[in-house]
Symmetry: C2
Subunit: 316 residues, 2 copies
């Protein structure tokens, strides 16, 4: 199936290209700094996000709230309905569910969580636009046999495979368990978001069926990674439950395997600017399914204040 792209490709990648760095054409923090009041992010935090491409915010949610989220997460991970929906990633051997996509549509609690002002207002302030959920998922990385996830820029995939035009999206990882130095925490390369690392290789048909377990295309070369790490170093997002790791769509990140007994769970939410809705993919492949990339079902996410009692009331 050949699709013609109608938008100019600002960030060409794959399709036989050589590895190189292209300049970022887009802001990191959108809009004027003095208009950012809703989120409560301080000027130094905004500067750090602009410079590093991420922020690690501790104690955004209380342990009691996290306990609520974990209870709902455990229920969803064990649900046969969810497994049957196919909007999941399962373990090859056991069939155990490791990720649930569109988690914001999978339960009333997680539907409310993505609307929590503590999250939405950060997205609104940084992107200076109304926002919608490009993708969401609940991730469960088990102890003992947690797999590594290789370095990648989410934007590279979202651009090439989903047709996201510009860098005006961000991810939030709400940590449900502790990220220790030993249990394969998220690693980020500060400053890597400032240039676009063109990837070599092609985009196979139905790439998403394998790439979500182990990415082989859309990954940077060794030389690209060595240069980025040389420039910016590597930061492990070591954090307690209830933290939120906010990172720009183009920040290079990955994680090592986890042989420790401590599992890692998080809720992963991608906010995209309404003005940056996806077009046709920038590759000659059919778009990925709706559960991985919102294309038809676009809904503006408005802040909706919720507290512990509110979340408890939403538990099934």
């Amino acid at each position: 199936m050949m699709l013609t792209t109608t938008t100019t490709d600002q960030y060409p990648s794959r399709a036989g290209r050589s590895a190189e760095f292209l300049p970022r054409h887009d802001p990191v923090v959108y809009g004027s700094a003095d208009a950012k009041t809703a989120s409560g992010l301080t000027a130094p935090q905004l500067e750090a996000y602009e410079r590093d491409g991420f922020l690690i915010l501790p104690e955004v949610f209380s342990q009691a709230e996290i306990d609520c989220f974990l209870r709902d997460a455990t229920r969803l991970l064990g649900s046969e309905d969810i497994k049957r929906s196919g909007e999941v990633i399962t373990e090859p051997g056991s069939g155990d569910v490791r990720s649930i996509f569109r988690v914001h549509a999978a339960s009333p609690l997680f539907s409310r969580l993505v609307r929590d002002p503590r999250l939405v207002n950060i997205a609104g302030d940084l992107l200076d636009d109304e926002v919608y959920i490009h993708q969401s998922r609940l991730n469960y990385k088990p102890g003992f046999r947690g797999k590594e996830f290789y370095w990648h820029s989410d934007f590279e995939t979202w651009h090439v495979e989903d047709g996201m035009p510009r860098m005006r999206a961000l991810s939030m990882s709400i940590t449900l368990t502790a990220n220790t130095p030993d249990n394969g925490p998220l690693m980020l390369i500060p400053g890597s978001h400032k240039s676009f690392a063109v990837c070599t290789g092609e985009t196979p048909a139905n790439h998403f069926k394998t790439s979500l377990k182990k990415q082989e295309y859309g990954v940077p070369t060794d030389e690209t990674l060595a240069e980025l790490a040389q420039r910016g170093g590597i930061v492990s997002a070591v954090s307690q439950p209830g933290s939120v790791i906010v990172f720009d769509c183009n920040t290079m990140h990955g994680s090592n395997s986890n042989i420790t007994p401590s599992p890692r769970s998080n809720v992963f939410v991608v906010y995209n600017a309404m003005s940056n809705r996806v077009t046709e993919p920038f590759c000659n492949q059919a778009p990925r399914p709706e559960y991985i990339c919102s294309r038809e079902k676009i809904e503006t996410i408005k802040p909706e204040k919720t507290d512990l009692m509110g979340y408890r009331a939403l538990l099934k």
Copy 2:
């Protein structure tokens, strides 16, 4: 091939057994404390080794010495003779050499290194006996695609597959590159050496051909590991080049994968007490080859003082 074991099995494992902890019948630090003068280990260090099952000793070798070792290591890793010897572990895809066994016999420099008093005297003091090299290897764990190595007690394998009778051996890892929190450093479980974790499963014929790349038998159960980690925690042996990590043969250890650009290299030397020489394996399999387990070629290792100039003179 069926072999009959003639020695009583103090530490039975595998062969259809259930997971359980057996008491350690052997000392950790052998001999009387006041007789330990050769190594220069202090009383608190001896106590820590007895309690935790390991010691991380910084700055044992100078950076100039490590540069010598690295130069010899690089030569050996690229040697066609070494690759042809078959006493290596290679990468499945590329055929690149990842480990060289009997490295103490592979070059004059490494032959001298295992005799360095800074190492041998520690082994002599802790084991209170003359010592020989049970196994040695040069390990190169590349960046980007360094594989994890799952939790195991070396003694469990040396006992079952090599016929090492008692816990009177120790390993030293001489670090040639930095072990950072992010590049898959050696992780150890303090106190795990105090009990013997019986492993389930069998011992397949020629197990060493696969176990040295990825161990599937002789690994503890999830419950065993969870209990050990619960009791003792997990320590990452974060260290600079020139450090020596000394650990008891029964200390549970492993490492996560390494997707960072920083490779990890070390020289790994196992000193065994002369009184603890291997017998027939405690399983119904043929012994592993001589290059993995010294059985015929037993030579007492005597201290031989060497300094930077001495090592430089041994470079090829």
